[in-house]
Amino acid sequence: MTTTAERAPAPPGRLLRFWRRNGAGYLFVLPSMVFFVLFMFLPLGWSFVISFQQFGLAQSAWVGLDNYTSLLNDPVFRQAALNTALYSVLTVAVWVLVAMVLATLIHPLPPRFRTFFRAAYYLPAVTSAVFIALVWRWILNANPWGLANWVLSLFGAGPAGFISDPSPFLGANVALWSVILSSMLTIPAVGVVLYSAALSGIPRDLYEAAESEGAGAFAKFRHITVPLLKPITLYVAVIYTIAAFEVFERVYVMTGGGPGYATNTIVYLIWRTGFRFGEYGLASAEAFLLFLVIATISVLQFRALRSDVEY
């Protein structure tokens, strides 16, 4: 049937045949393509352009690299970047570890228990971060009736200021550590699910062979589970790193970036610069720096995955 189509002589006829053969395909992807161009790729490029402008609704002035240089010299931006980095490194490390351990522990249980724990651990993932953060704000409030302060008092300590205390602590400040702590105590639901799926793919005879050589539970975990899960670990680490770099709700609800700038993060800063102060150019520059970091991480991930074909 295609041979007749290829022999089509006149151009209009050929166009018509091309359309008959392929038109449906184009029409089916059209809405999605329009969407991705209009709301993803166009804004990406536009954002890049705006980041070199002093943007005004009536007219914009080109300012070259001014937005970027003022950002890099701005202590507020630098603190936000450092806060974001610390928050990301620590929460991601804990999340990945917790997810792997939990999935490994759930795996050998009878099906009914497995279903229960996976559901229980998944529950926070179906709830808006706003609501979870509101509860954490309440738990970590500075008053003696705050739950966290009550726990401290059981050990004869406190009361602590937690999210409202900007005083220096372990290289950062108490408020930031409190936000980080609240994140760490949130179960990495997606990671547990991904690891669970990956674990069911590990052949059982590997473990049996190890057992016949007298390997204990920890040795099996260390020498079989962890290495075989390496690809999924990379993947989980990357999605969590990206999620952590984009932390917003938690900061918005728990601290509003404060006290002062103690818990500012990049995305919170983008929102504030752009939509509180209307400085679109500066906000775009901030966003673009974030994009560069995230894109770099993604590229490194693909590299790592490609060079990791061992099995």
Partner: protein, 321 residues
């Protein structure tokens, strides 16, 4: 074979026939699987049955962790049920004393909560329907149609995963404002009418459907749209259910974009409205927790109620493997 690097991949999910260790290539499409909680018993190989002592040792770790995971919800509901005067007691009570619906009543008096819930529902349903229709259309085309540029377009869509949504906020907002849609529910809906996850999942599923079904429908005189809508869509029900439920939950929980677009009090969604309450009534913790509970409980119920569809979602991934 599609030219893109992700062409021959599977939706990562446990398969019923003991699958081999997943290759790195499969891993990078585990995106869909992260929203498909595996269901106990589906294709899991747990090895030898546990001895009682081992099982108890494992439970001794998992149960406390589950308590930590669920505690914020418990504390949310407990505080919501505790009258404000009793909530600031030292030491705090871990069970709701003098439980009452006082905070809930106050919440409905102070804020247009039902309106917020309605706005959230409207936005979530609209986005869900758009995702189901547009993602499926694109997924179908990428799975079954051959047309020049197909591979490139698919690569483009997948690569948009690398664009953090924050980078697009300012231009999106300018765009939406120029369309006159700021402070309008449509302005929230429009920038989320399709998504990568849905397109990916639908493509993976539709690929597995035998071509004969479409051929048969065409022989019977069905046009392209009828083939898609009357043949492909009904057969893809499990994948559609997965896309629908995750789109709905995601849209209901969305915060940053609605926060930017919406400002009139009666147009807010539940997450934005409840976050606003926290600023307006910063000392009334009972009210805040009541608001959080009203926003969170519907999704929790949905999750518990639709576990069967989550299960179907896993089977969707399992078909190919």
């Amino acid at each position: 074979m599609s030219p893109d690097p992700r062409g021959e991949t599977h939706v990562a999910a446990p398969t019923s026939s003991g699958a081999s260790v997943r290759s790195p290539r499969e891993v990078d499409v585990a995106v869909p699987a992260d929203v498909l909680p595996p269901v106990g018993g589906v294709g899991d190989e747990s090895g030898r049955p546990l001895r009682r002592r081992q099982a108890l040792a494992i439970l001794a770790i998992l149960v406390p962790v589950a308590i930590v995971a669920l505690f914020p919800f418990y504390w949310m509901v407990t505080t919501a049920l505790t009258p404000s005067s009793a909530a600031i007691r030292v030491p705090p009570s871990l069970v709701p004393l003098d439980a009452s619906a006082e905070n809930l009543a106050e919440l409905f008096r102070q804020a247009p909560v039902l309106l917020w819930a309605f706005n959230s529902l409207l936005i979530a349903v609209a986005i869900m329907v758009c995702h189901v229709v547009f993602d499926s259309m694109a997924g179908y085309a990428f799975a079954k149609k051959r047309f020049p540029g197909r591979g490139l377009m698919f690569l483009l869509i997948v690569s948009s995963l690398m664009i953090p949504v924050q980078v697009t906020l300012v231009p999106r907002f300018i765009l939406i404002s120029r369309l006159g849609l700021d402070d309008n529910l449509l302005g929230v809906i429009l920038p989320s009418i399709a998504d990568v996850f849905g397109i990916f999942l639908m493509r993976q599923f539709i690929r597995t459907l035998p071509a004969e079904l479409e051929e048969a429908a065409r022989v019977d005189g069905a046009n392209e749209w009828q083939v898609f809508w009357r043949v492909i869509m009904p057969l893809s029900r499990p994948a559609v259910a997965t896309v629908a439920i995750f789109s709905f939950v995601g849209a209901w929980n969305a915060f940053l974009w609605p926060l930017i677009v919406l400002s009139k009090r009666e147009l807010l969604t539940l997450p934005v409205g409840v976050a606003l309450l926290q600023q307006e009534f910063s000392s009334n913790i009972g009210l805040q927790m009541a608001g959080a509970a009203v926003g969170a409980v519907p999704m929790i119920l949905l999750f518990l109620f639709f576990q069967r569809h989550f299960l179907d979602g896993v089977r969707v991934g399992g078909v190919k493997g």
